[in-house]
């Protein structure tokens, strides 16, 4: 009986390992391909003939890859900080203050969750063209500075903060804004880190709006840079360069993911929705 059970478990592990190969292989393939020379892509070979670094040299010297990286970091960090700040400020105010229009404002913000980005990109583009926001950091970032989903999520968590705690801080004479920063925010750290991870990933990988609002090469973010470089028709696809670009973009995120995987996985399970 025990033997039969352990055989079953072994079988389950076997199936799961096949899955691991299916999931991991494209990553392995991306890295291996980035070390091949271009002619090697005309026939099938598993290993690179010799480990060729020319694709990486080309990425770093002949494209604005470093600038794209910087753009991605700037955009994702600023948008994440702003979205977290406003989501918690608005969530807190809606959860813990009584005033006329509270329900109305909450419903207004919730309604914007129903509207898909695709409907908004055209008006945003018209706006950006009129106000001179095309091809600027502000242009890439402004739609994400506040997110209705974040407000909704933070409000749910803020409802759980005991009123006594806030009143105690008020009796101590703290200003309302300091109470928000010093008393309220530490109470919702898990929700903040989950929302922060989601927002960061969403913006790091964002494609539709940046591809519309960016017009010069030096303002591209990483996904736009990779996509545009790859589809540009300069004498066939330069597979080794594309794979080197993808590797440089994906590997740091994968490493961060493995370091923080517990928090990331639990954060996403907690909020349940991609940002």
């Amino acid at each position: 009986m025990a033997q039969r059970r352990s055989l079953g478990v072994l079988l389950v592990h076997g199936i799961l390992w096949i899955g691991v190969v299916v999931v991991a292989f494209p990553f392995v393939w991306m890295i291996l391909s980035s070390f091949k020379s271009l002619p090697e892509f005309y026939q099938f070979d598993f290993w690179p003939q010799h480990w060729d670094l020319s694709a990486y040299r080309q990425v770093l010297t002949q494209t604005e890859y470093g600038r794209w990286y910087l753009n991605s970091i700037v955009v994702a960090v600023i948008v994440t900080v702003s979205a977290l700040f406003f989501a918690s400020l608005v969530g807190y105010t809606l959860a813990k203050f009584r005033f006329r229009g509270n329900q109305l404002i909450f419903i207004l913000i919730l309604c914007t969750m129903m509207v898909p980005t695709e409907l908004l990109v055209i008006p945003w583009y018209v706006m950006s063209a009129r106000f001179g926001w095309v091809d600027t950091y502000w242009g890439i970032m402004f739609p994400g500075l506040m997110e209705a989903f974040g407000v909704f999520l933070m409000r749910q968590f803020m409802l759980g903060i005991p009123d006594d705690l806030l009143d105690a801080a008020r009796i101590d004479g703290m200003s309302e804004f300091r109470i928000f920063l010093r008393v309220v925010l530490p109470q919702v750290k898990p929700a903040l880190s989950a929302l922060g991870i989601l927002t960061f990933l969403g913006n790091w990988n964002a494609y539709l709006w940046p591809v519309i609002v960016v017009s010069t090469e030096s303002m591209r973010t990483l996904p736009i840079g990779i996509g545009m470089f790859s589809t540009a028709d300069n004498g066939g696809l330069q597979w080794n360069v594309i794979m080197a670009m993808s590797t440089l973009a994906v590997i740091p995120i994968v490493i961060l993911y493995f370091i923080f995987q517990k928090r990331i996985v639990e954060g996403i399970a907690l909020t349940g929705v991609k940002g």
Binding site: S230, I253, I268
Partner: protein, 312 residues
């Protein structure tokens, strides 16, 4: 050095009621101060643009309107009908398969004790990686001449396929990438759903003599209902918005994304091509309005199904 001023303790006085009023008023003022910028933002960046998009959809690009001309053009346009049909195909193919894969993985991982965290981490990895990078790797693997997928098929004596270059296979090839990337998310949510089922329920069923299949069919599956609805709705909504995969798997090399022969074009790719390649922003807005209505319908159905789920 800060000097501390000790105030005499106040005793309740008749004037206290009006003091409390001003306190409430002051707190309301604080709330308005906190909300001013966000409300302006949501009105200016979300609500007015939404209305503007609806308004734009009622005008033609040469300024005539209000008219339903854009919607009439749409109905008559073969590429639009193709885009709508393809989008529904993406939904029908990817959502059930990525959910089935996710549930299978979650159940399998539930049966082992070792390496659980490892499996969970690895399977979730594709979901957090850049769609653009992932799409280009798959595009390389799909290459009909030197791609690794045809090579592997060759080991099993399956003839080489054209994949993304074949109008009959391209949509399926794109769908496979989407499923590969999203199954881990479904797995994660199913794992959370499975953990929420009380062990005593499963044990009670087993004591009553139910086999593994019966336990799953009559205990686990019904209790997973909210999870299934959640994944179905979020999956359908994101499949309706498919864009980045198609742009990067099929774009470039002389053709617009959505090829070959419009076999992979989706609603959003169609919006992008008509708005930002043909520069007919009004027409593109009209298409996004149709997309919006589709998403709204899914959301309403969700509300209905969820309400029913709570009844038993």
């Amino acid at each position: 050095m800060k000097s501390v001023v000790l105030e005499p303790r106040r005793t309740p006085q008749p004037g206290m009621a009006s003091r409390r009023m001003t306190l409430a008023a002051r707190r309301a003022l604080t709330a308005y101060a906190f909300l001013t910028v966000p409300v302006l933002f949501f009105v200016g960046i979300r609500i007015l643009p939404t209305l503007y998009a609806f308004g734009m959809s009622l005008f033609t690009d040469d300024g005539k309107g209000p008219t339903l001309a854009n919607f009439k053009t749409m109905v008559g346009d073969e590429v639009f009908r193709r885009a709508l049909g393809n989008t529904l195909l993406y939904v029908v193919i990817t959502v059930p398969l990525q959910m089935a894969a996710g549930l299978a993985l979650a159940l399998l991982i539930g049966r082992v004790t070792r390496l659980r965290g490892f499996y969970r981490t690895v399977y979730f990895l594709p979901y957090i990686t850049s769609v653009v990078a992932v799409s280009w790797v798959w595009r390389l693997m799909y290459d009909p001449n030197s791609g690794v997928i045809n090579e592997v098929l060759g080991w099993f004596h399956i003839p080489a396929q054209l994949w993304l270059r074949d109008p009959h296979e391209a949509l399926l090839a794109v769908s496979i990438v989407m499923i590969w990337q999203n199954a881990g998310f479904a797995m994660l949510i199913f794992m959370a759903g499975l953990e929420a089922i009380p062990r005593s329920f499963l044990e009670a069923a087993r004591v009553d003599g139910a086999g593994p299949w019966q336990v799953f069919r009559w205990v686990t599956w019904p209790l997973l209902n909210p999870t299934v609805v959640f994944l179905a709705v979020t999956g359908v909504i994101s499949a309706l918005q498919t864009f980045t995969q198609i742009e990067n798997l099929t774009g470039g090399s002389g053709g617009q994304a959505g090829g070959p022969l419009n076999s992979t074009v989706s609603m959003v790719v169609y919006v992008y091509n008509s708005g930002f390649n043909d520069f007919n922003l009004q027409y593109a807005s009209a298409v996004t309005v149709v997309l919006f209505v589709l998403i709204l319908l899914v959301t309403l159905i969700q509300l209905k199904v969820l309400n029913r789920a709570y009844e038993y």
